[in-house]
């Protein structure tokens, strides 16, 4: 947010993703700068989720490249990309429903665990030390997200708003440099939204995580993002500060449909 020297963390170069004749992304190029909160908006089916899926390796672009801190991600598998420091949440909550919140968060640290399975089998010694270190990191997230009271509750038994919060925690547990949030506030009430917004801002400012979020709530987008990118029919139609986007003719026409609100 307060970065004057613009350091590019992620670069998307002319990326195409297509399913048969359907073009989900049609030559999208963009940059995510280190430390910013970037909002990706656009009407339904504009290709927002496809973009996020392409970045974290769920989809492989048919053309174009994605670079993260100088490294080409295009051919990498999702878990390799995650290990590089890109975490994400899903539009539909993706948690292990039968596992407790604590265990779900521990899973988020899976990629950070180094001990071999033999020493894990023995447990005492190295594996135990490592477990303690990870548990502490997870406890800090629990404290940070104010979910102490549900630490031992199976994720599937939680109300939706809390599940979304736990999912955010699961992504943060991986200590990512870049966090991709796919509609983190969908289906939430005002109070839950305010909570999540606070956590996103805190993650950005206190933990220094760069954030790209897909969001439909324009109020939230305008309030918290440093820059906004607008997609429509798989193409980037605008890019700029929230102010610029609000008054951009093309965006208003394609997306907002009516003159600027608020």
């Amino acid at each position: 947010m307060n970065n004057n020297k613009k350091e590019v963390l992620l670069q998307v170069q002319d990326v195409h993703v297509d399913f048969g004749i359907l073009k989900a992304l049609n030559g999208v190029s963009l940059e995510i700068q280190k430390g910013e909160i970037l909002a990706i908006i656009g009407p339904n089916g504009a290709g927002k989720t496809s973009l996020v899926n392409a970045i974290n390796g769920f989809y492989h672009p048919s053309r174009g490249h994605i670079f993260f801190a100088g490294q080409d991600l295009t051919k990498l598998r999702p878990h390799q990309i995650a290990a590089l420091g890109i975490a994400r949440t899903f539009q539909n909550v993706a948690l292990f429903k039968g596992m407790t919140v604590l265990d779900n968060l521990m899973v988020g640290r899976n990629l950070k665990m180094n001990s071999l399975f033999i020493s894990q089998g023995i447990y005492w010694g190295l594996a135990q030390k490592e477990e303690i270190r990870h548990r502490e990191a997870v406890e800090r997230i629990i404290d940070w997200l104010e979910i102490e009271h549900i630490r031992k509750v199976p994720a599937g038994m939680l109300p939706y708003g809390l599940q979304k919060r736990v999912e955010l925690g699961r992504a943060l547990a991986a200590e990512p440099q870049l966090l991709l949030l796919d509609e983190p506030m969908a289906g939430m009430n005002l109070e839950e939204k305010e909570d999540i917004v606070r956590f996103i801002l805190d993650a950005n400012e206190e933990l220094g995580v760069t954030i790209a979020l897909i969001e439909h709530d324009m109020g939230v987008v305008m309030d918290i993002s440093d820059r906004v990118i607008v997609l429509d029919y798989g193409e980037k139609i605008a890019e700029g500060t929230p102010q610029e986007i609000r008054y951009n003719e093309r965006v208003i026409k394609a997306y907002l449909g009516s003159p600027a609100r608020r």
Partner: protein, 639 residues
């Protein structure tokens, strides 16, 4: 050095126990973090010296606001060590209340738990120039706060470390200057009428009263308590400050307000204090969970609870228990009571208390029946908390026990409870009129109506000013009837009306948890609290509960005419944010009568429904309107 003030006791305990005994624990990051007596002293000392470096002088007030945290207790103690006065605040109080207390007490220093509380204090600082410094404990979210009058707890301790270099004996000298007659606490009471009043208590008040309690109840230094009730409430100051220092036991701060019961289970406290509302919540939770349990567990629970209640009844009457019941009770201990106590975190309880409002007799008996030594006590902020108690061999359902040895108690001609004790306060802060009204000839006028039974036990009927009569002259003690209503697991709060009227009516708050659960099992769909409250099925359910209360009122000749004839279910919960109840959940009758005047008129008319629009206030001060149609129902009365 003598040990007649709290700071002197702290130093004494640190000498006696050093690092070998834990004074206070806090659950943080999922683990119980412990502070020994030496740690307690060191933390307090550094913070006190930091305050001194920042210009804290004898007689200055320091307010703390937040959940129970060791740092907030250290801060209060630090103020005391320097001859200052702690003024704890209710952490969920809204701005208007806080503004009054801070301005009235002229607090210069405020220690706030976290960003949420700091924000409140920043908002107030513009209006109250006496606030000089705001100190925060949790740095979360504070990165963009650059105001010069904001400091972190550790930064203040750091200043203290520096200050200690140039003033190596300052702390000890200040503690030695302390006098038992110095003010140790100003506790603001959330009055049911008007502005809060600051109750001034000295070290001698607190410590003498604590020593009277200790003699009566035989506390030991290996006892464990929980610090989870608001720090601004006198009971917490007594247990987590005065008694902690005098006895040297261990106090435990839960992780968060929502984890208290789980944390309690991990600690297994031996002395616990819960207001009636919490006992009732626990019982409601047990019942709700039992209704969802497997049938065999339900059957076992019902059978053995019946046994336990019978045994408890014999014991309360001090009669021998028949052999068959004794055998069944022993069996039940293994199968039901012990596992239940363990689940509640009450396996090691030696003393459990309730006070503040009357506890439903059935709730009381339930906990005693499963083997928890629950007793009712009575006390006021003005008497340094507890002043009557029930000795272990003399527990009675309806009383609050007899005065602690050393405390005098009598009933005035108009039925008011009067108390004379070393714990009685020095006066209301900057309010001589109120002091003169409460303290006459050395007797504290409590404002409670009570009677003393043949065993010398005190029975509290109601607030003296609330007891009145119906139009036909029958005694009408609203709280007495409300307590009976509230024993129903489905009723959370109730307001009865009847003064000067022909008959008694009631406005009822359903309990969302248990009625919601009930509705789910009965396949009654609902969307919100308001919607659920107006379902015809729910009205039928509550009618049955009101009928039960009427039946029990009919048993007592004097109260028979005071049965409930008509009632309605309120569309919203009574809430301290809307000023309908106090922070300690006492009804503010005058305000309610005014606010719901239309509903009350409708209750005394022929109408079968009434339309209502109410303004509700959210915690952050925003308001919204709720509009609803409330049904009114008649109930059968017994003769």
């Amino acid at each position: 050095m003598g040990a007649d003030t709290l700071p002197q006791l702290l130093i004494l305990n640190a000498q006696k126990y050093g690092r070998n005994k834990i004074a206070i624990r806090e659950k943080d990051l999922g683990i119980w973090q412990s502070y020994s007596w030496q740690d307690y002293l060191e933390n307090t000392r550094l913070f006190a010296l930091g305050l001194a470096a920042l210009g804290f002088r004898r007689g200055d007030k320091l307010s703390v606001i937040g959940d129970n945290r060791p740092q907030l207790y250290f801060a209060q103690m630090a103020a005391l060590c320097l001859g200052g006065i702690p003024v704890p605040l209710y952490q969920d109080a809204i701005e208007r209340e806080l503004e009054y207390i801070i301005a009235h007490s002229e607090a210069r220093f405020i220690v706030a738990e976290d960003q949420e509380q700091v924000d409140k204090m920043l908002a107030l600082r513009g209006k109250i120039p006496t606030i000089e410094l705001i100190i925060y404990d949790d740095p979360r979210g504070m990165r963009n706060y650059k105001q010069p009058f904001l400091k972190s707890f550790t930064a203040v301790q750091e200043l203290g470390r520096e200050f200690a270099r140039s003033h190596p004996h300052y702390f000890e000298e200040e503690v030695t200057k302390g006098n038992p007659e110095d003010i140790a606490l100003i506790a603001y009471t959330s009055g049911t009428t008007g502005n809060p009043k600051g109750v001034v208590l000295s070290h001698a008040n607190l410590l003498t009263n604590v020593r009277l309690i200790k003699q009566a109840e035989k506390y030991e230094d290996n006892d464990q308590t929980m610090a989870y009730l608001p720090m601004a409430w006198i009971g917490d100051s007594i247990y987590s400050l005065a008694m902690l220092f005098d006895i040297g036991f261990t106090t435990n701060c839960p992780e968060a307000a929502s984890t208290v019961l789980r944390d309690m289970r991990e600690i297994g406290p031996t002395v616990i204090f819960c207001p009636p509302r919490i006992w009732e919540n626990i019982l409601t939770t047990i019942r709700v969970k039992m209704e969802d349990a497997a049938w065999i567990k339900q059957k076992m629970f019902d059978f053995f609870m019946d046994v336990a209640m019978q045994v408890a009844a014999y014991r309360l009457k001090n009669e021998p228990v028949p052999l068959k019941l004794r055998i069944l009770y022993t069996l039940g201990e293994f199968l039901v009571y012990a596992p239940l106590r363990d689940n509640l975190g009450m396996r090691k309880i030696r003393f459990a208390y309730t006070a503040g409002a009357a506890l439903g007799p059935e709730t009381f008996q339930f906990f005693r029946a499963i083997g928890i030594n629950l007793k009712q006590v009575y006390g006021l902020t003005e008497t340094s908390a507890m002043c009557t108690y029930q000795p272990d061999t003399e527990v009675k359902l309806e009383t609050v026990g007899k005065p602690l040895p050393g405390i005098e108690l009598k009933i005035s001609e108009n039925g008011e409870v009067l108390i004379k004790s070393p714990g009685v306060f020095k006066g209301y802060y900057k309010n001589p009129e109120a002091t003169a009204e409460a303290l006459k000839d050395g007797w504290l006028h409590t404002g409670d109506a009570g009677i003393i039974d043949q065993d010398g036990h005190l029975i509290i009927i109601d607030r003296a000013k609330d007891v009145s009569t119906l139009a036909n002259g029958t005694i009408f003690a609203p709280q007495y009837i409300e307590n009976k209503l509230k024993f129903s697991p489905y009723i959370k709060e109730a307001v009865t009306i009847g003064q000067g009227k022909e008959f008694v009516t009631a406005m009822i708050n359903i309990d969302m948890q248990s009625v919601g659960n009930w509705a789910e099992r009965k396949n009654v769909g609902y969307t919100s609290y308001t919607d659920l409250s107006q379902k015809p099925e729910v009205y039928d359910l509550i009618t049955q509960e009101v009928k039960k209360v009427n039946a029990s009122l009919a048993k007592e000749e004097k109260l028979r005419p005071a049965q409930i004839k008509r009632f309605l279910i309120l569309h919203k919960e009574l809430d301290p944010d809307d000023a309908e109840i106090t922070r300690t959940r006492k009804l503010r009758r005058g305000f309610i009568a005014q606010k719901y005047a239309e509903l009350i008129n409708a209750l005394y008319s022929e109408k079968e429904a009434v339309e209502v629009e109410t303004k509700i206030t959210y915690e952050d001060g925003r308001t919204a309107n709720i509009r609803a149609f409330l049904k009114i129902k008649d109930v059968e009365v017994f003769s």
